[in-house]
Symmetry: C2
Subunit: 306 residues, 2 copies
């Protein structure tokens, strides 16, 4: 049964008994079980595993797992494989969060102290490393070995993009001399890569890698919109304080470029990118970009409220 012969109706029926929330729970179980296994040489729980479990006590919205599950369902990817791919995407994202929090000196994540704040920087480095490794490790259970080369290179490509984006972000922190082009590169590499990965994995699994480039484009546009919206929220939160100007922020970038009403211009730019993301995502096969469309619509609505 190839995906090309399925229409939306029949693929939906295949999974009709599962809600996305049920499936996300299954992904959580898969991740938890991985870290339950003790290593042979030790009967005590390793401190790094403890830190990982602590991190996942507040799992966040699990947007990347949900995006992957939704795309996999639409594309009729096999049940076990779907969970594996969603887990891989979620693990990679959480690896990046734990390391980003060290780099950004962030003390709170999802309402609790960050891993480095609770366990120290050194254990947090180990915890992020182990999540990154485990993301790939998940693929060992994938049912179709013939697809593994492409799945591996998809993860590696987007992980590299995210890491390079984060490196640029680190480089430009406390340096407000950032061009608009550089801002767009950072947002696309850093956030776009890990938004795109879950959809790309679903497309590769469904042997629709011809659409991977389109998913990447959709997510690059979404990531820029997302980043601008996040920056605008920071400005609202920050109020009159000057803190924002020390960080990478679109309003600051546009102001430097001579824009009079940089905040309004930023909101306009944000909308344009989100609209473009929606247009791209709607072209993905079997409505597999529908979760991305919803995310973009929600962001647009939020924007008009501010």
């Amino acid at each position: 049964m190839t995906i090309q012969t399925l229409n939306n109706h029949s693929t939906t029926k295949l999974y009709s008994s599962f809600s996305i929330d049920d499936l996300v729970q299954q992904v959580d179980c898969l991740i938890q079980n991985t870290f339950l296994e003790q290593t042979a040489s030790s009967s005590v729980q390793n401190i790094c595993i403890e830190a990982i479990k602590y991190h996942f006590d507040s799992p966040g919205q699990q947007v990347r797992a949900k995006t992957c599950l939704d795309a996999c369902m639409k594309l009729a990817v096999e049940y076990d494989d779907m969970l594996i791919l969603a887990a891989a995407a979620e693990l990679l994202h959480n690896a990046s969060l734990i390391h980003d929090d060290i780099q950004d000196d962030d003390e709170i994540r999802r309402g609790q102290p960050t891993v480095w704040k609770k366990y120290g920087v050194n254990i947090a480095i180990c915890a992020g490393d182990l999540l990154l490794s485990t993301a790939y490790g998940m693929l060992a259970g994938y049912s179709k070995a013939s697809l593994l080369p492409q799945l591996i290179s998809t993860i590696n490509k987007q992980a590299r993009s995210a890491i390079e984006g984060q490196s640029l972000d680190v480089l430009f922190k406390n340096n407000p001399q950032l061009s608009l082009e550089q801002y767009l590169v950072i947002a696309t590499q850093k956030s776009g890569a890990l938004f795109s990965l879950p959809i790309e994995l679903a497309l590769v699994a469904a042997e629709r890698s011809d659409c991977v480039e389109l998913a990447r484009k959709a997510c690059a546009n979404f990531a820029v919109g997302y980043q601008i919206a996040d920056d605008l929220e920071d400005i609202v939160k920050d109020g009159a304080h000057h803190h924002v100007s020390q960080c990478v922020n679109i309003a600051y970038v546009l102001k430097e470029l001579g824009y009079k009403n940089a905040q309004q211009q930023s909101a306009e730019l944000c909308k344009q990118y989100l609209d473009q993301a929606i247009q791209n995502a709607l072209l993905l096969p079997n409505n597999s970009g529908s979760m991305l469309v919803n995310l973009a619509e929600n962001l647009k609505n939020k924007l008009s409220i501010h």
Copy 2:
């Protein structure tokens, strides 16, 4: 052609025109080419890639690449696959070095400033992450997809062991209350895993995974011997200074346990572990553990000189 039908003579002939040093150069090229490719979105070399190239300017002895190449040659693994596996093992080891240097506050590696010392901790975190990801990424080029699940889980298992070992090491730093058992667990997990990985990958590639456990045992014993020898060298270097007692060191562990001549006892213990490693390694098929045997013999000789 299966490996079982080959004797040492014929496998050696297959690669007769290559020396290990020639092959290591090919592995270097493979690694360098991976980081030469620019990402699509940027024409400038990313700072993280710059840091990685800087790190590899002093490549070290490349023991893990050599161990892998030697075992692969003995086991008649295909040429391209052999380079891929050696590169993966070497990348993973170097990822661990870059992160370990941050964690251990080490400022010099292979005679030059460590990556974190030159580029800052945040870029060094990114550089280690990218090497870790690229180790797995190498597998995308592997010729036999059917072996990928086992190769992936082999890397993941040993990466996890190394990360857990490093976490314990971090935990016990500046805490001299370390039992002999804990000392052995740390040495086995931290160093043993990444010594064993190159041989394990060769065995899996040659469809001799029945011998993976033996390789692991040999390398666990070797790692303990290696760690004790390293500790003894630290004592010689450190002379009368008290610095050693703040670090995990076998002589200190034995002294705490009431041994009178802890340094000599440590040397005895070291020899025992190295002998055991040699015994195990000699049992590996087609002489695939010969490089490990040499390493252990060299360490024993060095020990008797001190």
